[in-house]
Symmetry: C2
Subunit: 309 residues, 2 copies
DNA sequence: GCCATTGATGCTCATATGAGCAGAACCGTG
DNA sequence: CACGGTTCTGCTCATATGAGCATCAATGGC
């Protein structure tokens, strides 16, 4: 009987039958040390496959690699069956938020389907006395997942705290209007509070016509196509950037209400949440250009990011 | 954080990261005993799934259950992906033959696709000085897998021994011819040798028109249908039996050349090999009516046999 | 409010395990 | 056949682990 076959038998007796290496040795007529060595070999050769099967399972190895490669403080990578990426990632993000130490007192959030799911996954009482402040102009009617305001409000309610909303459109038609709005005492106050936040939680949008910007009429499909042509890979806090993290269209950017990307880059804690293959490109930009210090993503995104050297 | 989630984290650290329970305790802020207990819980709850992935893997638990339920000396149950049952079972049977103790000096074999596969899976030098003797009338032209003779010959060659073939058709048209053939000195000698064998290796055929009996013209599809109508579930050594193991058609049986089923029932070692769902019924009969002392089967057959009380 | 019951927790201790090491067996080479 | 190198084997010993037990906290009945 060759060694590999023996290793299979040892693995079966050890894992399926719960025998000790002593017993296995006696049973198979080998020394207990040989049994132990064969078992180690079986594990190395992949004969023994150990899997953690649970909706909240994580991929610690990938997390470590992502952290190292992109110099992040923390990464959460969750395995997800096709189609359930958003749900699993949102759950993981909620878990991460709940376990953040030190506990955030002010949390600045953007909006999007993903964050809506995160808000939904947060349990009541996930923290106490949180202040949730919006980072950028609100989308008032996102049919798919409620308004941007509801994200902040839900997070605040469940965290037994208050929401500070940014009463402004996401993008204005004229620069002057945008400047006027930002000069408004209320708006300026919110923006200042957002800029001072200790913890940011945000997602990014891909540069395609399914974006919430298009859906809400701030941009047209043509605008998006033009942005893409100029090299945009997606938007962060409503600001379209190219693969290197630079603003693609400064004129458009000047009409966009909300804190700038610099606030993210200098933040103590900026948590980037992403799910789904559509966002692989923008995800790469976010992690490589220092926009976040932590990330929560699905396994396929993580693998994609680690793929190239 | 609830206990189940904690158990998932513990399991990940233990199995994916190879941490000790001590380290896990420190990492998660729990005592090392709690970590150990959560790990045990994770295993019980099925959060940790351990699988032996190998073409020669076996199902020891099922083997034990089959042995106990049907009072067998040994059982080998192998997991098999759809369609590969025959291959996996044949390999396992070959492994079993090779490891039999005491080493068989005379091995009596029947024929069939399954046994052809077993012969094929035997490595050269699987034993030394074996005598392989046929138990029942030979099928001379089995298109699918070579002749019955080749099974015995292959086994004998690879076991560095000799084959003793039964030079006779499986079923004769007239009882008188059958009696005459069995009276022949050579044939009688072979049958006597077969009846004295210490170890038997056989398969059973289902009672359907794809049987080798039909393929070789010994029986017609109508004959099979009639046998089925009379309660036959399949054949063992060419003899058709009902669910209780009784000969269905004594007249046909009297025209069938080969040792009787009594030889199997009184054998020291009778190894029954079966693969595939088509043979579930006849398999049940073989194991419940004492025709074998050992068996090699695929997982689905084993589960089927254990299913009903 | 009191006590019994149940379940969780942290401990002791015997046992199982893996790392490291020394000697044996095996290999091809000269 | 002798030799050096390599792999294998069985061992010692430190460490990791699980069973069993005492204690503690929570729960619920009275």
């Amino acid at each position: 009987m060759d060694d590999e076959l023996l290793a299979v038998r040892v693995a079966e007796l050890a894992y399926d039958e719960g025998k000790t290496q002593d017993e296995i040795g006696a049973l198979l007529g080998i020394s207990r040390w040989k049994a132990g060595r064969l078992l180690a070999q079986a594990r190395e050769l992949g004969i023994v496959r150990i899997e953690i099967v649970h909706p909240r399972a994580r991929r610690l190895r990938l997390e470590r690699e992502i952290c190292e490669r992109f110099g992040l403080a923390a990464a959460v990578v969750v395995p997800a069956p096709e189609g359930l990426e958003l749900e699993r990632v949102a759950q993981a993000a909620a878990d991460l938020l709940t376990s953040l130490r030190p506990v955030p007192r002010t949390l600045a959030v953007s909006w999007g389907r993903t964050l809506a799911a995160v808000a939904d996954a947060l349990p009541d009482g996930w923290t106490r006395g949180i202040t949730v402040v919006q980072t950028n102009g609100g989308v008032t009617t996102n049919r798919r997942s409620g308004t941007a305001a509801s994200i902040a409000v839900t997070m605040a309610q469940r965290g037994h705290g208050q929401a500070v909303l940014l009463p402004s459109p996401a993008i204005l038609e004229r620069v002057e209007t945008k400047q006027a709005i930002e000069a408004d005492r209320i708006v300026a106050g919110v923006l200042e509070q957002a800029a001072r936040a200790h913890t940011y939680l945000f997602t990014a949008g891909a540069c395609d016509a399914r974006s919430a910007h298009v859906e809400n009429g701030y941009l047209t499909a043509d605008d998006i196509a033009e942005l893409a042509r100029r090299g945009a890979v997606g938007d962060v806090l409503g600001r379209y950037i190219d693969a290197d993290g630079n603003i693609v269209n400064p004129e458009l950017d000047a009409r966009t209400v909300g804190i700038g990307l610099a606030a993210l880059r200098s933040a103590d804690r900026a948590i980037y949440v992403t799910a789904g293959a559509a966002k692989h490109d923008i995800a790469r930009t976010v992690v490589t250009t220092g926009l976040c210090t932590m990330t929560v993503m699905d396994e396929s995104t993580a693998r994609k990011l680690l793929e190239e050297s």
